[in-house]
């Protein structure tokens, strides 16, 4: 097994989960692949105290670059996928089936998405998230607050 395969076996699932939240399911595999291949050839990978955190930061940075490059052109990453994916919870009336929720998700910045992923999936505290993403704890809180605000209105229970 080569080194890349070792990385995927050990961390692939969590990287893919994070990437899915960052860029949607259609682009998640590409994002992870690009980051892992680029990362393992980077000296900073070898020198990183926490290699997996380094990869998570790289995912976020790559997602941010992709977000800036594509602008409005990549804002439908969930719509078509959620409606056609076999067994998608959208067919069962889940939150992803709500167009307003999808629109709210697409309005989140990559940083906001990363923060809600680590908050609500990995159940990490802001201080822990800050260490992984290499940003300040205050920044984590701000991203989380903004994401909550953006998503709050889309969740019908909070409409006024």
């Amino acid at each position: 097994m080569n080194f890349i395969d070792e990385v995927y076996e050990a961390h692939g699932a969590e990287l893919l989960r994070h990437a899915t939240v960052l860029v949607g399911p259609a682009d998640a595999a590409d994002l992870v692949s690009d980051v892992v291949v680029a990362g393992i050839s980077d000296r900073k990978w070898a020198a990183a105290n926490n290699p997996i955190a380094y990869l998570h930061r790289s995912l976020l940075n790559a997602a941010r670059m992709r977000h800036r490059a594509n602008g409005r052109r990549n804002t439908r990453e969930w719509n078509s996928f959620a409606l056609h994916q076999q067994g998608s919870t959208s067919r069962d009336g889940g939150l992803l089936g709500d167009p307003e929720v999808l629109q709210a998700i697409e309005g989140l910045s990559p940083q906001q998405r990363a923060v809600i992923y680590f908050t609500y999936w990995e159940d990490l505290r802001p201080a822990e998230i800050a260490k992984i993403l290499g940003i300040g704890e205050g920044s984590v809180k701000k991203h989380l607050a903004r994401a909550r605000k953006n998503l709050k209105e889309a969740l019908h229970e909070f409409k006024h």
């Binding site: 893919l16 989960r17 595999a29 291949v37 980077d42 000296r43 670059m65 809600i116 300040g136």
Partner: protein
């Protein structure tokens, strides 16, 4: 913005958790990734170089920073990674941010008249050399900055981020110029050319005005500066020199009293300070009693404020050009 009750907050958290779980449920499997990812190349080897060249050529039309920042790294060596330092003069309200090893500074002003109580800056800078097949192509700086202006209890009044790159290759230069012309923006209402203006004694092109919640601007400053500004509810004016250098960015708050200039940032040329334009043409005469940093200030190792003697003239420290600059 704060949720009114704890039960409502808890309920929102539950719904957000459900949403993230649904998103994660759609994640591809590891098998999907390993089935098609390209064969690994030896780090720094000739295969890595050819892969980079082919990919860079194929991506030329995309004109994205992603090509520079994340994909095109045949061999990189971290030259310096330093925490940032923030200094703010409490008399003139001019702030500067710089790295310990003298890499490019960023500076700006806070307008106390607009009621901005605090400024939080988180800033870090890295530089590295790009080496391709033993030849040093040049050096790059990449700075990640986040700037917050907080008005009273209303957090996230303003967020700005920026990157600085100093490419040397013709390929990268082409990308930067093209990016500058393509001011991609999110949720933008109005983009327009507003003619020319004189900034710091230099005629500049008043490039764009944005009146919307989010905007993205790319510019050039002795290399490349990419500025991503996301005013919460405001506007962004950008001045660009004839040679493409980003001269100044001015941000406005869009409050009920109309547009008020809240902050202007002039980007320093390496080793050359640039004057900062004040909203009303003169620095304030009274210091804001609430101008302070709290636990939200995160600047690496050092955070400090400077207090000028009354009546003294404040000067901006300059960044000495480094070997990589």
């Amino acid at each position: 913005m704060n949720l009114s009750t704890e039960p409502e907050k808890d309920y929102l958290d539950d719904r957000l958790r459900q949403l993230v779980e649904e998103m994660v449920a759609n994640a591809p499997s590891v098998d999907e990734v390993t089935a098609y990812h390209p064969p690994p190349s030896a780090p720094g080897g000739r295969n890595g170089k050819h892969w980079w060249v082919a990919l860079a050529a194929a991506s030329l039309i995309l004109v994205t920073i992603a090509v520079i920042g994340s994909l095109a790294r045949p061999q990189v060596a971290t030259v310096a990674t330093e925490p940032s330092t923030l200094r703010i003069d409490e008399q003139t309200y001019r702030w500067t941010a710089s790295t310990a090893d003298g890499l490019p500074q960023f500076e700006g002003v806070v307008d106390p008249q607009a009621g901005k109580a605090r400024v939080t800056i988180q800033f870090e800078m890295e530089s590295w050399e790009v080496i391709d097949d033993g030849e040093t192509l040049g050096s790059r700086y990449e700075g990640n900055g986040e700037l917050f202006a907080i008005d009273g209890d209303d957090l996230d009044q303003f967020v700005g981020r920026w990157f600085v790159l100093e490419p040397r290759s013709e390929f990268e230069s082409f990308l930067a110029v093209d990016e500058m012309k393509t001011l991609d923006a999110f949720e933008v209402d109005v983009w327009e050319d507003l003619g020319t203006a004189t900034v710091n004694g230099v005629e500049t092109q008043h490039l764009r005005t944005v009146n919307k919640a989010a905007a993205e601007v790319n510019g050039v400053l002795d290399g490349f500066v990419s500025f991503f500004a996301i005013p919460w509810d405001g506007a962004l004016d950008v001045w660009v020199r004839d040679d493409g250098a980003l001269a100044q960015i001015v941000l406005f708050s869009d409050d009920r009293a109309g547009r008020q200039e809240t902050m202007s940032m002039s980007f320093l040329e390496y080793g050359v300070p640039v004057e900062i334009a004040w909203p009303d043409g003169a620095p304030p005469t009274q210091r804001s009693p609430t101008l302070a940093f709290d636990e939200e200030t995160e600047l690496g190792e050092t955070t400090s404020t400077t207090t000028a003697e009354p009546g003294s003239t404040t000067t901006t420290s300059t960044a000495a050009p480094t070997a990589n600059g």
